[in-house]
Structures are given as C-alpha cells and as structure tokens.
Amino acid sequence: MSGKEVFYQGNEACAEGALYAGCRFFAGYPITPSTEVAEFLARRLPRVGGAFIQMEDEIAAMAAVIGASLVGKKSLTATSGPGYSLKMENLGYACIAEVPCVIVNVMRGGPSTGLPTGPSQSDVMQARWGTHGDHPAIALAPASVQEIFTETVRAFNISERLRTPVSLLTDEIIGHMRERIIIPPEGELEIWDRPRPTVPPEQYKPYDISEGIIPPMADFGSGYRYHVTGLNHDETGFPTNKPSLVQPEEERLMAKVTENLDILEKHEYTEKEGARIGVVSFGSSARSSRAAIGLAAEAGIKVDFLRLITLWPFPEDAAVQMADKVDTIIVPEMNLGQMIEEVQRSIAGRAEVVGVNRADGEPITPAQILDRIREVA
C-alpha cells in the first residue's frame, strides 16, 4: 500500500479512518480509553468543514449523530463500556429508523465503572443484543492499528450501504498502542455512500422496498419532506401497528444483515495440515493467539487459527469448517466467556470447545494460550 506513513495510536487511526471514509460529524462524551478519538476529531473536523460537538452525555451524543446523519452527514461517536450502555437507547432508534452511523467502543472492564484503564472484550454480547427488541447487529473487531484504520472505513461503508448502525469494537490495548501505519491516498480504499432517491420528491416513500431491501434515503433539507419515527412504520414512514406490516418490517431489518453476508463477513483462517486443535479469537487477544500458535508450532503442535474481524454477524460456516476438522477449539477472550457461546452454538457439538478467559484488566498472554494448547494436545 502506498500512502503516508505515520506512527499512530489506535484511537488516532480510528479518527483518521473516519475522516478518510467521509465522516463530517462527531458527537461524543469523554470517557477513557476512547477520548483520543474525540480529541483528534475536535482538532481535525473543523479543518475540513465538518463539525465536532461534545454533548452533555452519551445518550445525547448518539442522538446528535443520528440527527446529523439524517441531514446527510456521515457521523461517528466513540465511547467505552459505561457510555456504550447509554448509546443503546438511540442505537435501537438508528436500527428501526435505518439511519447510518458508526459507534466506536474502546472496551474496558465492567460491569458499571469497572476498570476504566484496563482492557477488556466483555461487550461482545452487548454489541449483539444491547438494545432492546429484535434488531440487526453489526460489529467489527480490528486487531492492529492499521486494521483499526481500514475497519473504521469499512464500518462507515457498511453502515451507509445497509442504512444501519455499525459498532467498531476495539479495546484499551489496541486503542492506546502505537504502531506504524500507512494512510492510503485518497481513492485507494473504496468509499460507499448511502443509497439516495432517484425519484422526484412527490413520488418518494422513505421505506419503499420495491427496488430492494435497503430503501433509498433522502437528506433532510433536500426537498424530500418525510417523517422519521422510532415506532414501527409503513413504507411511507408513518406509524403502524398492523401485524401484516410490522412483522415484515422486523424481518427485513434482520435480513439486511443475513442477506448481505458477502460484504459483512470478514475473517482470516490460517490452516495447518493435520491440525487437531483450533483457536478462535479476535481483537488484541488474537495477537496473543497468533504468538501462542507460533510457539506451539516450534514445539511441534499444529494449530489452526480463525481470527474474526467481523464479530457480528458471526461466521458460522468458518467455525463449522474448523470444528469439522479439529478435535478441540480454544477461544481466548478478555472476558469470562462470551464469544465461546457463539462458537458452541454454531458448531453444535462437532468439537470440544474450551476458553482462555481473563477479566482482571490484564491482557491474555501467549503463554496462557500455549498452556491451554498443550493441555488439549
């Protein structure tokens, strides 16, 4: 990749990636370990004619982000556990009203105030089910500073194309770690924009799905006057409680994910011939996993590795592929066992599944994972 070389912190790479993707609005509320995203954008957004605002809390920040997105601005907010909890109310709103936006959660230990400066991966299930009601969920989990940049761009792209909120889950380790990265020149990474209406305003129906399950979205103020609500609504955007309309709407929101797995799923499967052990991991734990797998190889133990880059939707097929081959799957994660349940559910008994878990604010070490590999080998 050609481009500009910089030595960035993960949070800075996230903010830079957002700008690259076309983000022109940020609303947030300070919280460790995510604050650098806000600080970076407070400096940079006005320079590109965008807007930054520090709101009174995370609920307000999420609301402002949705408001700005409705006017056509790609919008971002960034937070950590306690703030992510507060985002949930309006994240659900963005799901049902189908408003693109990106939410960064630099994960720290919890519950509640937990470990403000300690890394964690314990918001995995919250990213899936955190807001009430059935709803689609998309969450990406980069594992390096470079990947934070590119996955932030991808988060915006997906959010725009599917008209749904996307969470980017990083953690205190990669959020604060510095690495040399390349910022690609403009145009090198593809940038997607939301579908916009091609019909004249008088024919526009904001949730018309006759052309596909993602309805074109008009910017407020562009001449297409319409209504947006968090109530279940019909194709005109007005509330309805007709069972014959509500159920299809609910199912369509989910289908936006299940029918777009080709653009959503992203993982790396590193195979070793004859391996009887597999590791499934993500984010900074994937870094330790990779190191452990290297050490195991030196000791003559072959281990397959599935690194999840998209967490939600979960890549069931890849997990099953691994389970059909190996006897045991190890799931290292900085929590007391969340992603492991999804692995177990997906593979339905095809292999043994064991965790490597840590929730003390310290990273999982390669040695810990290697120990588990030796145990099951």
């Binding site: 609005f25 609303a27 004619g49 605002i53 609301a63 408001g67 997105s69 006017v71 309006n90 562009s222």
Partner: protein, 272 residues
Amino acid sequence: MTFNYDEYIRPGKLPHIWCPGCAHGIVMKSIIRAIDRVGLEKDKTVIVSGIGCASRMPGYVDFNTLHTTHGRSLAFATGVKMADPELNVIAVAGDGDALAIGGNHFIHTCRRNIDITMIVFNNNIYGMTGGQFSPTTPHGRLASTTPYGNPDYAFDVVELSIGAGASYVSRSTAYHAIPLERQIADGIAHKGFSVIDALCTCPTTYGRRNKLGNATEMLMWFKDNTVGVKAAEKMPPEKLEGKILTGVFKKEEKPEYCDEYAKIIERVSAKG
C-alpha cells in the same frame, strides 16, 4: 380572514390521536400560523419531537419531521442543526419529555444557545401514559402516581430556561392562541435558543382527576388566572397572588452556537 391550514397539514394524517378537548391541537395550530407568519420554507424546516401525546404533533405537519425517543428531541435537533445550520429547527415536547427525562438536554441546549426553537406543550401531567405526575405538576395535585397529593414541587419553565441561558424565553397558554402564535413566531425569528412555555390542558388524565372542570372550563381558567408580565409590573403583590405570568421574559442578543462554530471552521480550515 380565516387561516387555511391545508398547506401545512399532511394529507390523510387527520384525525389526530388527541382526545376531544385536548389543547395540544390549539398549540399545533399556533405553531403552524407562526411558521407561516415568519415565512419558513417547508423544505428547509425540520420539526423534532420526543415521545408523548404532544410529541405526536410532527406527524401531522408537512415538513421534515423527526419523532425521536422520549426526552431526546433537543439532542437530535442539535445534530440536525449543526449538520446544516441553514435549516430552521423547531422542537416540540411535552412537559415530562422536555423537563424530566429530557431535562439534562434541555438545560444544556439553553446553555449552548443553539438556534433552535423549543415549544413545551405544558399540560402539567404525563398524558400519554395515563396521568402520572410530571415535573410541572403543582404541589398537592392528584396524579395516578400521587394518589395522596403531589409531595413534589414544580419546575417553573421560564425561570429554568433563563437560569440555564436560553436567549428567548416566553410563556403563553392555549387560551391565548394568538399571543402564543406571536411568541412562537418571535422565538423562531430570534437567533439563539428560544423556549416557549405553552400552557395547555389534559382534561382526560389531569383535569378530571383534579376536578378542574371540562375542557372549556380548563381553558377559561387560563383566561382568569394569567397576568401579562408588563401589566404585572404595575400591580400590587396581593393582586398577583396565585396568578401565572405570561409574555416575553427574556430576549437577548448573544452569540449563537453554530455561528461561533462557523467562526472556528473559518479560522482553522485554511490550515487544511
């Protein structure tokens, strides 16, 4: 000449959900006339609300309309306004929506002095959920959750707004539909955050329980128990006992948030 609302009401969206005798419709009509009076362009106007009976208002009117989550109208509206300061942004909310769950957003929007006009449909009760007390239910009143009388004391929307920094603050009532219209128009034309405390009535869940008479009698109560803030200056205190002051309480030119931010953009954007 009678005002023709047709241009502003969305075809097919009436009848509204409000009870017979509810004053929310009067406030809605005042807002429509005020918008017409100021001459706002429909395409460039966004009306934002939260959740509640009052917050259903945007669905009936032909603008860019945004019905959000309970209490959050001003936070969404702030994003809309900052994303395009050329848009005229109006927020409508019930008293519970604006001042209880939305209280934090309310005071901070006042402080920021962003150019949004907020109309509080203040009926002293949570209408939509069936008559629980709100932050403006007077002490001693009955509500479904204050069956022995409200032990709490009410917010004064005007004092709260002034204290928090709003630059235009007024109060009128659903009885005084024309002055209300004038104030809303004034608030929209004013650059900065404007709060209009629109006293209105919920005969269904508040009036009945507190034996305040029928819908008409509740409106007439406003006529008999309000005093214009200018007239009040010349009245002895005993005559003002128990009266509610109406009128414009504050109108101050002061820096507006988006203007200030635009200056920052101008100053730093040259640096690239």
